[in-house]
Amino acid sequence: MQAIFRMGIPVSGKNLFPSNIQGLPTWYEVRVNLRGHTARTSEYDLMVAMNAETYARDVREVRPGGYVLYDSTWPLDPALMRDDVTFLGVPYARLCNESFTEARERTLMKNIAYVGTLAALFDIDMDIVSGMLKEKFARKPALMESNAKAIQLGHRYALEHFECPLPFRLESMDATKDSILIDGNTATALGCVYAGATVAAWYPITPSTSVLDAFKGFCEAYRVDKATGEKRYCILQAEDELGAIGMVIGAAWNGARAFTSTSGPGISLMSELIGLAYYAEVPAVIIDVQRVGPSTGMPTRTQQGDIMMCAYASHGDTKHVVLFPSNPRECFEFAVKAFDLAERLQTPVFLLSDLDIGMNDWVVPRLQWDDGYKPHRGRVLSKEELLALPKFHRYSPEDELGVAARTLPGVHEKGAFFTRGSGHNKLGGYTEIPDEYQEVMDRLLRKHRAARTIVPEAVIERRAGATFGVVTLGGCDPAVREALDVLEERGIRGNFLRVRAFPFGDEVEAFLAEHDTLFVVEQNRDAQLRSLLVMETQVAKEKVRSVLAYGGFPLQANQVIEGIVARLGAGASVNGTAPHTNGHAHAHTHGAHDAHDARQEPHGDEGGMP
């Protein structure tokens, strides 16, 4: 995938793995096409069948006219054969046994040899491949040599035995020269570092663990004093998620930029203290890398099932600010934004990512940083400001966002107050008096509503002659865009809106109002974004329909197309249902083509190529 990216071609890779340490099959899908659509598709042009246990399923999944690459050291079971698929057999085991002496090397290098074959079949630039080998094994020349040898084995065999390249192949482009290949969790962690977060508290959970792994790595690189070894950060691996959010609240109460990273089950546990932070108005940044629920669900599969939970987390009347990044670049930008919003609004802010965004590599434009950036710390009174006040009260007076100034411990005793989750009045004192309680609760509602003016605006794209609007969020973005492109080729035009935050901005309200037919595309069973839109905007419930996909794999364009077409009814004439029909026609004309492959990786990672 990295080699394709370096050829300048937009590409995506989806790692489909089980919740298990070792031994169960894993698939890795790579998608490439001329128009840069990189949403997942299950139309496989070429399947690399590496695991005999899953041969039957792998062969079945290849599209008619596609190819299966397999190890022909052993004959394939004739029952697996299909007439409409071309079988490409390379005797990898035999080749490696002949070329390598050590048992471990023989096994490992077999997996590497596939890369050479694929490079030949797709016409991947071998200079790029060998360049990557040099980088990866710069410090292990012996490993580089055997990897290079294995790749050559696979490459040469393919050139000698097959017609290379295949009818679909790769041609260098310059579409990725200003891009990087990065996963969302790494980008999120980088955002936290750049935002100046100093305290991170967390409890390990798939699929968010790599956020903290990356944060730790970046902090070690950028925040350790070279002379003394002293660290300008504190990472707390908590005893559980209840502790993790407690630590974040404690640190933020003291004035640090603090965050936690978790997944749905963690949010469930954190809910009580999220309510405390909301009511006592303590900033907190909570990263939720969603996975499939409910309960333990499917920890290594993706879903957007925590939308409602995050929007209203905790008992009583609570409403939160939630950001919905759609790719790693937005993960980086929104992570920084989340700290600014949390401190400005003195409230918990959620960064709602998911496994697909967080753990898969995405091609995104290079991350940008403005050195003029100053963290928005919100209304925090300095000692001088405190001394100039006749008297300090925690929850009044409010500014135009409904926010009152806070003070930090250790600054001056004039700023001392008692933070409490119990009923309090606008002066910060304990109360059970209805009017005093309501006064504070009403301000919190005003504050949440005001947040809509400072959260990231929705992305809107209009098409001339559009007859409906599609609303979506997060990682659905590429599949929905692809679906709208394909539909347009069939004469069905829809406008596009991707919400990027809750509360919804006025532009969302206006978009909903301007369409008589709306589709909300999201990855959960209960249409959570749709529910939130119906509850939190003026939109008429009847005109909003749902397109849902929630099986756990990243969204595909054909799921969106089928959903929209089915609901548009007989009025919409559609030729075929698969989005690739047009894609292939297009590709044939231009010579560079769709190349999807899925390969199983039952090998260890030592000496392996990504």
């Binding site: 908590a238 559980d240 404690g250 603090a258 001392a416 989750g421």
Partner: protein
């Protein structure tokens, strides 16, 4: 309830500490606990300890969870920020607060319900991390605010006000802390100010997690015959083991204690805690012997009080993590953000 508002006038003869503050400057709001509640005596002890330590009130952060005990941070140090958080979560919140600003003095006030049931995990892990804080358990064996249910520290056979006997074995916070590797473990009795104040002072200066379990009888739900946490029961069975005397580093260290009867422990800040042994063979620095001694005392029905264990050589959370000495909240943004050039360079590895 004590409803009488205290006057704010300060008597000119009130003693001043080195900051020029009187003990009144360390007080808080009027208590709303039941008249005679042991917790109020502990509050008075805390006020006295901070006054005697010359701590600027605003350099203290006082935290609590939920319960009668957790209300008390409102009743001392009105010049300090307080955080009355959620049931059982104080230790976690204090851990985060301490992570962010290591310059403040942290005091967490909790109860046996807050610490030994719902918050047991957080307390245990704050001990493991050795977070620098004074952690007080105001221990009465009963849930007061919800009207008298047994807590996890209620002794087996102890009777509730309704006459029901507790059937489950108690959790002893002192034994628990010792087994978790706590570096400062003490127990006292709310009615024994002479012992409590020096213990609190020593705990506040300890460079790590200092657990002080204070038996604090509940006058409403647990001060009747049959309760093992009543005033009568505690007074009758209390065995003071180690008397703590605290000498701040500035004062001259006196030596009027005969060799063999005094154990001196040097605190991290250079101050010295003197432990006056009641039992000549009691050594508060030997964890194994402390545990076995406490077990024996427990079996014979004695409540051992005093500074029971101290290890001033333990590694506090920040020293263990090698955090920078400057509090994290005081680091300028420029020292935290790597900047655009670093980002540009980093991204060559994502090509």
């Amino acid at each position: 309830m004590s409803y009488i508002k205290k006057p704010v006038v300060r008597h000119p003869s009130l003693k001043l500490n080195q900051l020029g503050l009187t003990v009144r400057d360390y007080e808080g709001a009027m208590s709303t606990l039941c008249a005679g509640c042991g917790h109020d005596s502990i509050t008075a002890g805390i006020v006295r300890a901070f006054f005697e330590l010359d701590t600027p009130p605003h350099m203290v952060a006082k935290l609590s969870g939920i319960g009668c005990s957790s209300k008390t941070p409102a009743y001392f140090l009105s010049g300090a920020h307080g955080f009355n958080s959620a049931h059982g979560r104080m230790a976690a919140i204090a851990t985060g607060a301490a992570a962010a600003n290591r310059k403040l003095s942290y005091i967490g006030v909790s109860g046996d319900g807050d610490s030994l049931s719902i918050g047991l995990g957080h307390m245990a892990h704050a001990i493991r991390r050795n977070v620098k804080m004074l952690y007080i358990i105001e221990n009465n064996g009963v849930y007061g605010l919800t009207k008298g249910q047994f807590s996890a520290s209620a002794d087996m056979g102890s009777k509730s006000k309704r006459g029901e006997a507790n059937a489950q074995a108690p959790i002893d916070p002192v034994m628990l802390a010792l087994s978790l590797g706590a570096t400062f473990v003490a127990r006292s009795f709310s009615g024994d100010k002479t012992q409590l104040v020096p213990i609190l002072k020593a705990a506040l200066l300890h460079d790590g997690f200092a657990l002080v379990d204070v038996i604090s009888p509940c006058v409403t739900f647990n001060d009747h015959e049959g309760s093992t946490k009543s005033y009568m029961h505690t007074r009758k069975n209390q065995v003071p083991i180690v008397e703590t005397d605290f000498i701040p580093p500035a004062a001259e260290i006196t030596a009027d204690y005969a060799e063999g009867t005094v154990a001196r422990v040097r605190a991290h800040d250079g101050s010295v805690i003197r432990l006056r042994k009641v039992g000549a063979d009691y050594d508060p620095s030997d964890r194994t012997r402390v545990v076995s001694f406490l077990r024996d005392s427990q079996a014979s029905g004695e409540i051992v009080t005093g500074l029971l264990f101290i290890d001033s050589g333990g590694t506090e959370m920040h020293r263990n993590a090698k955090t920078v000495t400057t509090p994290l909240v005081d680091l300028p943004f420029e020292e935290l953000c790597p900047g655009s050039a670093a980002l540009e360079k980093l991204q060559t590895s994502y090509r």
